[in-house]
Subunit: 113 residues, 2 copies
């Protein structure tokens, strides 16, 4: 995954635009924002383990309505772009938003678009 220590450059920005140029992937980013209301109670939401806000693939999949494999691929596209980060714990892979990148991206838009 993209390690955006500094600011986002044009190439990285285009990669993010690509990642967001699909309605389902935008939905995923949005539902991860409200993970509490979207994945409460029974879902495999990480509360401890140092990965707050993380949601596992199958829970995301059941929300999107698309297949498991597509969900997995879409998550890896989002991961590649840096918009989300992931952590594998046991047999689950948890994804959550990477607010740092998202903030940098916002800043990029304001300054470069």
């Amino acid at each position: 995954m993209k390690q955006e220590l500094e600011r986002i450059d044009d190439e990285h920005a285009v990669e993010i635009f690509k990642a967001l140029s699909n309605q389902t992937r935008v939905n995923i980013i949005q539902m991860l924002k409200d993970h509490d209301s979207n994945f409460s109670a029974q879902a495999h939401v990480i509360k401890d383990e140092g990965f707050e806000g993380g949601v596992c693939v199958s829970d995301i999949q059941s929300k999107t309505g698309i297949s498991q494999s597509t969900t997995s691929q879409y998550l890896s596209i989002l991961l590649q772009s840096g918009l989300v980060e992931m952590k594998r714990i046991g047999q689950w892979t948890y994804y959550r938003r990477n607010e740092k990148t998202i903030k940098q991206f916002e800043k990029y838009i304001g300054m470069n678009i």
Copy 2:
């Protein structure tokens, strides 16, 4: 072209992300921002005619380095998304940024991404 009277919805946002998911198109948006330094003097920059900041296709084309037909297509994608607006004057078609949409887009990012 998209007439964004109100705020941008998800569908429109995805269209804008698609428009920006290409380096050349991002370059065009950026060079139109600095139209003064990019297209000074000799260029067919509109100073009057009520379309300040407008640059014609051939001037944009010579800056991008891609073919004239591709430039034209890219501009129509940007127009469709609402990121730019255009005005035909005589045999020239002038394009300039649509700051209103861009501002709304920025706002969308901040609130919905």
